[in-house]
Symmetry: C2
Subunit: 208 residues, 2 copies
């Protein structure tokens, strides 16, 4: 069974949100000196591919460890939104058949951006109307192929709408090589206790 890796490679050269978020990989033991290699990792919880929980933007929101993996691991649809210029709206989404409890991954032109490119502040995002539409459809989880699912929105309305409707947000997917269609999605954030987001590895299996 082929595994399709849709995670953002993590390095000090990788794209960072607004070119600001921190990632440092420091060698603390070297083979020549210690006969063993060991690395210290300093990273933001929103580095690369990551899962966001309500606690990111909601006062009493839950943290990532309180979300069952079942909510965002399972059969999913990769949806072609590469024709969208600015943001994914309710109109774009009305073209798609969306089941309740589904997991949707949006492939946009963001996936054309290189893994290590400077941050592009004109990335395609999910609009307020798009977030409201997905809430109405009662989807379980939504993934996007850039480091943010919204852009320059007052009061973070896309995030808040999704979070208030218990929709899990996965940011930082890489979908360039993936065709639209149905897959089995496994997204595993590190098992942090009590924080608002967690870096994750995400893969697809061809549907079975």
């Amino acid at each position: 069974m082929e595994i399709i890796d849709i995670s953002w490679p993590i390095s000090e050269q990788m794209t960072r949100y607004k070119n600001k978020s921190v990632i440092q990989l420091q060698t603390i033991k070297t083979f020549d000196h210690d006969k063993v290699r060991q690395t210290s990792i300093l990273m933001d919880s929103h580095t690369g591919t990551h899962v966001e929980a309500q606690a990111h933007f909601m006062h009493d929101g839950i943290t990532t460890d309180k979300i069952g993996l079942q909510q965002y691991c399972g059969r999913c649809s990769v949806i072609d939104m590469t024709f969208v210029g600015d943001s994914i709206t309710d109109e774009h989404l009305s073209l798609v058949h969306i089941e309740p409890n589904s997991i949707l991954l949006f492939k946009t032109t963001n996936s054309e951006l290189e893994d290590n490119a400077p941050f592009d502040s004109n990335y395609v995002y999910l609009s307020e109307s798009g977030a409201a539409y997905l809430s109405e459809k009662q989807v379980n989880a939504v993934g996007i192929d850039y480091l943010g699912i919204e852009r320059s929105q007052e009061a973070h309305i896309t995030h808040r709408t999704l979070m208030e409707n218990n929709i899990v947000i996965i940011e930082g997917l890489r979908l360039r090589k993936v065709h639209a269609g149905n897959y089995f999605f496994i997204c595993l954030p590190l098992a942090f206790v009590g924080i608002e987001a967690a870096p994750a590895r995400a893969i697809l299996f061809e549907d079975f």
Copy 2:
């Protein structure tokens, strides 16, 4: 399909290798001050559940990003070694049917230790003879339910034997609630580029 999480919960209180390895979760944005929560993560590459590559102990060894996920994700056997007092030896392993290319997870009394207990330096480990036996059997990957797969061994012979035979090592599994038997194992380390080990989330599905 039930997901069985066998990852070590990550927090500042968790068990750390020899009580030394670093884990700090620092809140850098708070809801009250910033209307958003954000966390900075400082951790050792060998924190909690993690995958180790040859580069940890071999001069020219590969790093985790160079190991195909297929090598350690797939059908696996959870093997009951709770009767072992000190270390898993070739004699213990000779009691088990082992196929080439298999993925083996050893459940020992280590799994009885609490997630946040102080480091126990008497953990059950894989002996040199056990590592040699698994190499002869040409297994693909081996997992253990503590933060080390060897203990106080000169020249790290268990690690080196496994690594020289291209056997992937997964440390820090938590198997207390898992019965021996066959499962589908998914272990996804973060997608770090060029380092010798990577923290991971690991799950089991009931065999299907």
